[in-house]
Symmetry: C2
Subunit: 325 residues, 2 copies
Amino acid sequence: MKDKTELYLDEIENTISEIPLDIEPRDLYAPVEYSLQVGGKRIRPLMTLLACDMFGGNTDDAIAPAVGLELFHNFTLMHDDIMDAAPMRRGQPTVHARWSTNTAILSGDVLFALAYKYMSKVADEHLHPVLSLFNQTVIEVCEGQQYDMDFETTDSVSSDQYMQMIRLKTAVLPAACLKTGAIIAGASQKEQEYMYQFGENIGLAFQLRDDWLDVFGDESKVGKKSGGDIVANKKTWLYIHALDKADKHQRQQLLDAFMNRIDNEEEKIRLVKGIYDQLEISQLAQDFMQTFYTKAFDFLQKINQPEKQKEKLKRLATDLFNRTW
Amino acid sequence: MKDKTELYLDEIENTISEIPLDIEPRDLYAPVEYSLQVGGKRIRPLMTLLACDMFGGNTDDAIAPAVGLELFHNFTLMHDDIMDAAPMRRGQPTVHARWSTNTAILSGDVLFALAYKYMSKVADEHLHPVLSLFNQTVIEVCEGQQYDMDFETTDSVSSDQYMQMIRLKTAVLPAACLKTGAIIAGASQKEQEYMYQFGENIGLAFQLRDDWLDVFGDESKVGKKSGGDIVANKKTWLYIHALDKADKHQRQQLLDAFMNRIDNEEEKIRLVKGIYDQLEISQLAQDFMQTFYTKAFDFLQKINQPEKQKEKLKRLATDLFNRTW
């Protein structure tokens, strides 16, 4: 028998597949269909349904905004992929690569509007709080993407600046997903806030783990080549802290590597990873992400609901933290 | 003393100038500030306030969504200018030309989110109808832009297809602006629908006039060189109907011109305009747009409000129809 998590994932997939996208004009809607079919793990809408369920809410009332949050997530990917000039996503060509930049802009826009349409399908009494949270989240995600792009051309990025960037770009969305479920279930303001904090900390741990996996993960499990962030000169937490701990010689080597003074990609990755190893950055990063994971569970702990009710969400959070993909 | 229209325009300008945009990250918000400062006639938000006032509503309740509609309009310009590779807008460089395509994408996205934020600032009882109308409008405007782009590479566009395209791209927005004002004033469903139809017909007449002005307008008043649509091979109403009325020879000349077989721009404009004159397309177009203008006023007529209450809106519609700019 399927457990709740599996049932909810089925429901999310069904609801997404029922969005009427087989309509004209095709050049507008075909890329939207494509981006939703290419998939994704549907973690964000699952969070909304699990949060709603945790507070004893009716998940039928939460499925539309849950899907709205997934549509928004897919919209950000479509536009981010243009800005990052990314050719592939989830093993398939990105929309701008397969069609064109103009298509990815406009199909992204209509996907954004569809996200709002689904977010709006909630009871009258929840519409203002759900939309106000969503509006704020959307704006913050845009700010996060802007900071991420800014950092590409910034010489030095502090650890605080980096954490602020990933908070905006990555962590506020799972936070909003969880809080949306709580709002719809009729949780108190305080409980809603705890859910938000739980989600934000899970999101931060998730992104730090993402950075870590890029360098220290198992290529065969992660599904992409190691060291992509190093090749792209991404100023991740690992890099920022290595630079901070480095002696004069290591520092110069890191700066040289990130200013593209090493032509060979393999050599560049080996050199940077070597310095990370010397400075024990892997352990430092793992300890650091553990603090967010712990903080997240502290917030969940504060919520006065039977432990049994929290089980599925705890499981999801733990899986996200321990993931090797 | 200022009349209501002038007072409302002041209020719109004030509300726009009070949007907090002097914040970080600058590369995200500076282009938004720029696009709002470059101006525009604020016709759409004015429609919302005048419609609200016409039904005896309190325009203080309508100012936020009125501004939301103007923000949305500016968002569409920012993204359309990328897609059309337009270097200038309102006599100033477009955002993508002054900054970059990536900047125009992301600043556009945040402007879109701000539009929703302002649309949401309405009383609980109006939020669902206002948003549902706005969502539908946004989706239709995207569809209209897609059809417009599709037509660039379509050999033959019918008059019906063209009218459907301008309805979506141009006419549903003023219709939504007027209906939003009516909703907030508490007008009946039927009255809301009449306002929508009034706006849609005004929008159609407006766009047809825009096409007409491009060819037959006074350059010094229109503020741009005549014949831009001809140079760009735009399949406007004028072109579609000229093609339809043309004899074999004229038809071949038109087709040749629109397949860029005439190198000299001036010569191309002179030739096409010459055929339009032979076929009396100018008068045909004027008669045709008059039908929408008349239809618009028929809808306004159906609304049971004192004539005095309708005065400002009638004046605005007449000015829009008779405009030489």
